[in-house]
Symmetry: C2
Subunit: 207 residues, 2 copies
C-alpha cells in the first residue's frame, strides 16, 4: 500500500509538541473553519468540531495520500461548555466559575484516510477530571495580565501558568494539554486494523 | 520584619520553571550533597534528602535572611524506591518494572527560615498516583535513545517525552513534574502563620 502522509489539522503548539513526542513524522495544516456547532452536549460538541476541522483539511489539502488527524478540546462544568474566552473579562468569569470545583476536560480526536476499501473516518473522545483550588485575586490578577488565558478552552493551560490553579487531576494528563497521547496510539492501531508494523508512513513510523 | 530572600535549593530546570509560575522572586542555589539516605521507607527517604539538601544550602549560602526551599522526588512501586537511573540499562529495567502498573510519585519539600522566635524548619510530602501504559520496544527504544531518562526519578519526566508512557494520573500533576505547587502555596502560608500579605520578600511577593 502507498505510504500515508500524517497531517495534523491543528494550529495548537501544544498539540504539535505532544504529537512530536512519538516517532511519527507529520505535517501541520490547520483548518480555518469557524468553531461553531449546533451540538449542545459537551462530547457531541467537541466531536462535531474535530470532525469539521478534519473534513475541512481533507478537502483543501494538497497532500498525497493524507492521514488526517484533527481534534478539539473543551472544558465542561455541569453540562456547560467552556470554549476559548473572547477577552480578559470572560476569562476571569470562567476561572471564577471553575474555582474550587472539579470540571471535565474533553478532547475529541478525528481520523480520516483512504483505504483499499474506501475512505474511512473515525472519531473518539477522552475525558479527564480536573480539580481547581480556590482562586483568589492574588493569583488571578497576575495570571490574567500574563495573557495566557485567551487561546485556551476554559481560560487555562495546564502546561503553562494555569498549572497554579490545578490541585488534582484524574485521568489522562496529555488529554488536558489537548491531545490524549496513549489513547491516540491505541485508537490509531485499531483504526489501521493492524499492529502498526505493516503500515507505511511517508518516513519511518513506529507506534 | 526583615524581607526574606527566597532560595530554591535545586538544580532541576523543571522545579525552577514551576516555581516561576507564581509571582515570587527567587534565587537558585543547588546543594551538591550526595543523595544518600539511611531511610528505607519512601516518604521518609524523600523527606530526608529534601532536608539534607535544604540544611546544606542553609549552611553554605551567603544570602541575607534566606528562606530556603528544597525538595526531592522519588518514584515508588510496592515499597521499592526508584531514584535516578545510573545508565540506559537501568533506565530500561525501571521502565519495564513500571510498565502497565500504577506507581506513586512522592515529592518532599523542606522549608528553613529565621523567625523572631528562632530558626524554624518544616517538611511535607505529596503523593500522586501514576498509571503507565504497556511499554513495548517500539516506544522504549526511541525514548532511551533520546537520553531523557537519565536525570529523572523512575527514568521518566512527565513534562517531556516520558509523557508517552503516562496513561492516567490521580492527584497533583505539578507534583509529578517535581514540585507540588498548590500544596507549596498552602504550606507556605501555614508555615509563615499568616495570609502572606504581611510577609516581606526581597521584592514584591504575592501568594
Amino acid at each position: 500500500m502507498k505510504p500515508y502522509q500524517l497531517v495534523l489539522a491543528s494550529q495548537s503548539p501544544r498539540r504539535r509538541e505532544l504529537l512530536g513526542w512519538i516517532d511519527v513524522p507529520f505535517e501541520i495544516h490547520p483548518s480555518d473553519i469557524k468553531e461553531v456547532s449546533r451540538e449542545t452536549k459537551p462530547v457531541a460538541f467537541a466531536e462535531d468540531l474535530a470532525r469539521l476541522k478534519g473534513r475541512d483539511v481533507w478537502g483543501i489539502s494538497s497532500f498525497d495520500n493524507p492521514f488526517i488527524v484533527s481534534s478539539d478540546t473543551i472544558v465542561e462544568l455541569d453540562g456547560k461548555i467552556f470554549g476559548k474566552p473572547k477577552d480578559k473579562q470572560e476569562a476571569r468569569e470562567m476561572l471564577l466559575e471553575l474555582s474550587n470545583k472539579w470540571h471535565q476536560v474533553v478532547t475529541s480526536v478525528f481520523f480520516k484516510a483512504q483505504f483499499d476499501e474506501g475512505i474511512k473516518e473515525h472519531c473518539f473522545s477522552v475525558k479527564t477530571k480536573v480539580k481547581f483550588s480556590e482562586i483568589n485575586d492574588d493569583i488571578m490578577e497576575p495570571y490574567l495580565r500574563s495573557g495566557e488565558s485567551l487561546d485556551k478552552a476554559g481560560a487555562y493551560g495546564i502546561q503553562g501558568k494555569g498549572l497554579v490553579f490545578v490541585e488534582s487531576i484524574e485521568g489522562s494528563y496529555s488529554n488536558v494539554v489537548g491531545f490524549p497521547l496513549v489513547e491516540f496510539l491505541n485508537e490509531l492501531k485499531t483504526f489501521l486494523g493492524l499492529s502498526g508494523k505493516d503500515i507505511q508512513w511517508r518516513e519511518s513510523f513506529k507506534c
